[in-house]
Symmetry: C2
Subunit: 236 residues, 2 copies
């Protein structure tokens, strides 16, 4: 993306911040809820640690490697679409010119201005191509090293988030006390994270904090309830 000074005023978060938000959002929520669910069924705190650690590894790999593959597939798609438009500009120049004309006509250009604008944009292949990519397909060129960085950031943020709710289960305290501590720690962390996230997504910090706390609390509550139902039914 190309940013001018003016555009930066509109822009409220870098892509790295966005990746941290994606990873940490789920990293705080899912291990918290999973641990709460298991705490409703087992008494050995190490089982909660094992399940939590398994989940963190799986979640970080799924989200991180998944994010990497998605970013790479975006880059591949962009390259394929670009090659296709490039070919069409050479092979079907009249049709592509008509498309440029349709786009400008949609912005209100008519008569001599319209023809002049079409002539100017289609005079050189490079601006013509960029115009088609952005106006016809709505695509912007992805950053080349984005895929690896994006995947790593999401994965690390997921693990960092997951340690918070899991921490109390490492200690030799009763499972109910660990659950209580984990819930308190997680809700505080979700609130702080939500407030910080609000600054980047343009939602008010208070509303964003409430949203993430309710989401995390709901997930943990449902997981705990499901766990109690299954463990009663299974006679555990």
């Amino acid at each position: 993306m190309v940013h001018t000074k003016h555009i930066e005023q509109h822009f409220t978060g870098s892509e790295t911040v966005r990746d941290v938000v994606i990873g940490m959002s789920d990293g705080l929520t899912v291990p918290f809820a999973l641990a709460a669910g298991l705490a409703g069924a087992v008494s050995n705190h190490w089982l909660v640690v094992i399940a939590g650690a398994s989940e963190m590894a799986a979640g970080a790999i799924a989200m991180g490697l998944g994010g990497y593959l998605a970013a790479r597939s975006d880059a591949d798609s962009y390259a394929a679409e670009e090659a296709r438009e490039k070919r069409e500009i050479v092979e079907l120049p009249d049709r592509e010119r008509d498309e440029v004309r349709d786009i400008f006509a949609g912005y209100g250009l008519t008569g001599a201005e319209l023809e002049g604008a079409v002539d100017a944009v289609t005079a050189q292949p490079e601006p013509w191509l960029r115009f088609m990519m952005k106006e016809e397909l709505g695509l912007e060129e992805p950053h080349p090293s984005r895929a690896v960085r994006s995947g790593t950031t999401i994965g690390v943020a997921y693990i960092a988030g997951g340690f918070v709710p899991l921490l109390p289960y490492f200690f030799p305290i009763s499972i109910n006390r660990a659950l209580l501590l984990s819930a308190v720690l997680s809700i505080i962390a979700l609130g702080l994270f939500g407030a910080a996230k609000g600054r980047f997504t343009g939602v008010s910090p208070l509303r964003s904090a409430l949203q993430t706390m309710v989401l995390g609390g709901l997930a943990a509550g449902v997981a705990y309830a499901i766990s109690r139902v299954i463990s009663s039914a299974a006679g555990l």
Copy 2:
């Protein structure tokens, strides 16, 4: 998004397909890996079911409700940016005209064509506003009911995916046999899902199938290894 016939040829999947891919991708992977991890530490298959069901509930809520909130925040951002551009067109028309000129100049327009195009686009506020939103900010108007539909689709796809790896643990067979069955079922499902996903992301079906199978297998393998290490260390 506005699609012409030509644009649809480029377009390889609806937003619903994209949401199903997002939800099912993680839904197949994470419960599979979590179950594999726990199967390395416990002998009661109901504990795997409880952990898996807790994770599915938490993951579906985190991804589904998270997707809903993200889509709503996108819509809010778009509305806020639109209001801001609208205001700037009224209050700072000269600066906004200069921005239109810069954008057209970037596509190769000069002289009378350039001024003519700028005049035509800025003649009416509505095309001017759409031009600024798309060219300056790269934003397209989100669909109003998208948030609810997107969140529901992601959540349901996550749960549907999660049932596959969990199914064998419902039956009264040894935990190792359930793990083996779960791995076979999951790898087959990941391969089929990956091949189908390749059709929509433009990656070749075989390569996409291999990618999702390796990702799922890696996540499960790491989860299993972590679980064995922790359970030995804890003396379970």
